[in-house]
Amino acid sequence: MSESKEHVIPFRTYALIFGTLLGLTFITYRVALIDLGRLNVVVAVVIACTKAVLVVLFFMHAAYAPRRTRLVILAGIFWMLLLLGLTLTDYTTRPPAPDNLSPGSAPAAAYVR
């Protein structure tokens, strides 16, 4: 039985990540107050992804995990992107279907076959 080579991350690193996460939270709020048009949602998602990556790498120790574990994490993100990407290629390229929530909208006759 060998001694564990478990990596103990210094307190400074955790504190730095914590501070960065709080800073990014404040920035995402401030940026939301500025009108960037369609870019608003892009900036919000990019900042959220950055925060998530920091949490995964340092709080969840992925930066120090074996390659096998990292491969599993990347596979999960890949499947998530497939789920979002492929479904959205469908929804964003169909003609808008009328729905019965809109006032005065016709029933979706054209879609009932």
Partner: protein
């Protein structure tokens, strides 16, 4: 299959044991990712379809409470990370202090969430027969609020489960079970707690910050 100190018999050494436990937890978290992913997908489709209704709905949410809750939850992730570190360094009291801090911060988050939910009920913003909002597209704003309650509700349920998990970990930690070199439950509990934090990191901008500038 004898247990030698912290090492269970089926593993070669402590590193292999820890990596195995961690890998299993990650696989579970990926199923959780796909579970929440479905809701994020529905959110994306409806926001793309009804951007104005989503902006109207988002404006009814309390950005200050949501923002503070984000900070509180990130704080709880910080104390959870420090709890894992305390277990690594075999410091029992420090481990208990950080687990308890994480529980308190998680409880604070749920408290704020409770107040927010109460206000939504009082302001008739819960989808259904009593939904009332004086805007042009209020029917589609209900879709926003359905997603708001589904996503934050599932997130809060995960938080409540996490609080129960933390309580168990705290009791066993107090008895010194995780400061003798074996602390996989602490590490995996940490992974779960951080995952729930990440879900909120996405929920906050997507629900509270839609077209805030208008």
């Amino acid at each position: 299959m004898e247990r030698t100190g912290a090492l269970f018999g089926q593993f070669r050494d402590l590193d292999q044991q820890r990596e195995t436990a961690s890998l299993g937890m990650w696989v579970f978290l990926l199923t959780e990712l796909m579970f929440f992913g479905g809701m994020f997908l529905v959110y994306t489709i409806y926001r793309w379809k009804y951007p104005l209704a989503f902006a109207e709905g988002s404006r009814e949410l309390d950005v200050v409470k949501g923002g503070w809750n984000t900070a509180i939850l990130i704080g709880s992730s910080f104390t959870m990370a420090l709890a894992v570190r305390a277990a690594q360094m075999k410091k029992r009291k420090l481990l208990c202090i950080f687990l308890a801090s994480t529980m308190v911060l998680g409880g604070a988050f749920l408290g704020v969430k409770y107040v927010e939910y109460m206000q939504k009920f009082e302001h008739h913003l819960v989808p259904g027969a009593n939904f009332r909002l004086n805007v042009a597209d209020s029917a589609h704003v209900q879709i926003f609020f359905s997603l708001y309650f589904a996503m934050t509700g599932m997130h809060a349920l995960h938080m409540i489960i996490g609080e129960g998990m933390l309580l168990l970990l705290l009791i066993y930690s107090w008895k010194g079970k995780y400061t003798g070199g074996y602390f996989a439950p602490i590490e995996n509990g940490g992974l779960y707690w951080h995952f729930v934090d990440i879900v909120w990191i996405f929920l906050f901008p997507l629900l509270y910050l839609v077209d805030l500038h208008r």
